[in-house]
Point group: C2
Chain length 196, copies 2
DNA sequence: GTCTATAAGGTGATAGAC
DNA sequence: GTCTATCACCTTATAGAC
C-alpha cells in the first residue's frame, strides 16, 4: 500500500524542480504559486521549503543550473583549427542543446526580469560567457579571412538570436527532425557570416 | 489651485495605457497589480475600471494596438518591383519601428502566454500576417533567382528573430544610431538570404 | 519529511458617496 | 470620473505536531 506521508527526500527534490520548471515555462514565474507547484508534486505547500529557502531561489537555481549545463557542454566541444568547422560545431550544438530543453530555455530568456539584482548579475555573467565563446570563433574567422561580418559583437548576438528563434515555432511532433533543422540553420549561419 | 478630483477623461485614459505598458514591460503582466498601475497614474485602483473592464482586456488592448500599428505601418511601405529592394525596405522599417517602441515589443513577445485563448488567437493571427508579408518578399526573391535560402518559411522566421534580437541588447544611449544599426543588420540580412 | 494551521498582507473587482 | 470602503480570495513563508 502506497504511503502518502513520510520520507521521500531522494525523489521529491527533483520532482519539485521539474514541476517548477514546467509551470514557470508555461505560465511564468509570477503567475505560478507555491501551492500550484506543490500540487503538481503531490505535497502540501509547506513541504516545498525543505528544498528551497524561497520561491526566488528556486527560480534562480533553475536558471543557473541551465546556464552552467550549457557552458559545460559547450566547453566539451572539440576545438578545431578551422574557424568554420568550429562555427559549424557551435551551431549544431546550440540547436540540439536548446531543442532538448525547451522549458529551461524559455525560462532563461523570459524570467530575467524576475530575478533579484544579484541573481540577475550572475545569470548575465553566464550568458555573456556563452556569447564570448561564439565571438571568439567569429573573430578567428575574420582574422583568417574566412568570415565577412560588419561587426563581430553584433554578428555574435545576431547569430544567437537567429538560432534561438527556432524555439518560438519548432514543435517536436512536426516533420522536421532536429538534424534537418540544424542543417537548415547551418546553411543560413554560414551565409550570414560570409563563410559560404 | 490644482484639483485632485473631478473630470479628467481626456488624459487619464492614455495615462493608464502608458503606465500599464511601462510596468508590464518592466515587471511582467502577472507581477504588476492594478494598484501599482493606479499609483503610477495618480489615481485610486477603482478609477482604472472606467478605462478597462478588467486587467486582461488592458493587456490584450495594448498588444492588439501594437500589432495593428505594426501592420498598418508595414502596409504603407512602398512596394518596389525588385524583391531585394523590398527586403531592404522591410528590414529598415522593422529595425526603426521596433527601436522606437521597446516596451510594446517586449510585451508583444513576452506576454503571449498570459493571454486568454481567444485573445491569444487574435494576436497570433496578427503576428502571422506580419510574417506573411516578409515571406511574400522572400518567395518573390527566390522566384526571381536573387535569393538563395533553404526553406522560405524558416528563413522568414530566422530573419525576424535575428532582427528582433536587437531589442535584447540595444540601448539608445549607446554610440550606435538607429540608422547605423539598420545598415549593419541590412548587410547581415542580405548575406543570410543570399542576396549579396 | 510532511502535515495542518496560521500569520501578515496583497489581489482583482465592485458599490455607493460625492 | 474619482473616491473610500469592502468582498472574497489568494499569496509567501513559518511553527509546531506527528
Amino acid at each position: 500500500m502506497a504511503r502518502t506521508t513520510g520520507s521521500h527526500c531522494d525523489i521529491t527534490g527533483p520532482k519539485v524542480r521539474r514541476a517548477a520548471l514546467t509551470l514557470f515555462a508555461r505560465h511564468g514565474y509570477a503567475a505560478v504559486s507555491m501551492r500550484q507547484i506543490a500540487g503538481a508534486v503531490g505535497v502540501q505547500a509547506g513541504a516545498l521549503y525543505n528544498y528551497t529557502p524561497d520561491k526566488q531561489t528556486l527560480l534562480f537555481s533553475l536558471m543557473q543550473g541551465h546556464m552552467e549545463a550549457l557552458l559545460t557542454a559547450r566547453a566539451d566541444l572539440p576545438s578545431p583549427e578551422d574557424p568554420v568547422e568550429g562555427l559549424e560545431g557551435f551551431e549544431r550544438f546550440h540547436i540540439h542543446f536548446h531543442l532538448a530543453r525547451p522549458d529551461a530555455v524559455f525560462i532563461a530568456y523570459m524570467e530575467l526580469r524576475n530575478l533579484e539584482p544579484g541573481n540577475f548579475a550572475e545569470i548575465e555573467r553566464l550568458r555573456r560567457a556563452y556569447e564570448d565563446a561564439l565571438e571568439d570563433i567569429l573573430r578567428a574567422g575574420v582574422a583568417a579571412g574566412v568570415c565577412d561580418i560588419p561587426d563581430t559583437r553584433i554578428a555574435t548576438r545576431a547569430v544567437i538570436a537567429m538560432l534561438t528563434g527556432v524555439m518560438t515555432w519548432y514543435r517536436a511532433d512536426g516533420l522536421l527532425t532536429p538534424d534537418a533543422l540544424a542543417d537548415c540553420y547551418w546553411s543560413m549561419t554560414q551565409a550570414m557570416v560570409g563563410a559560404g
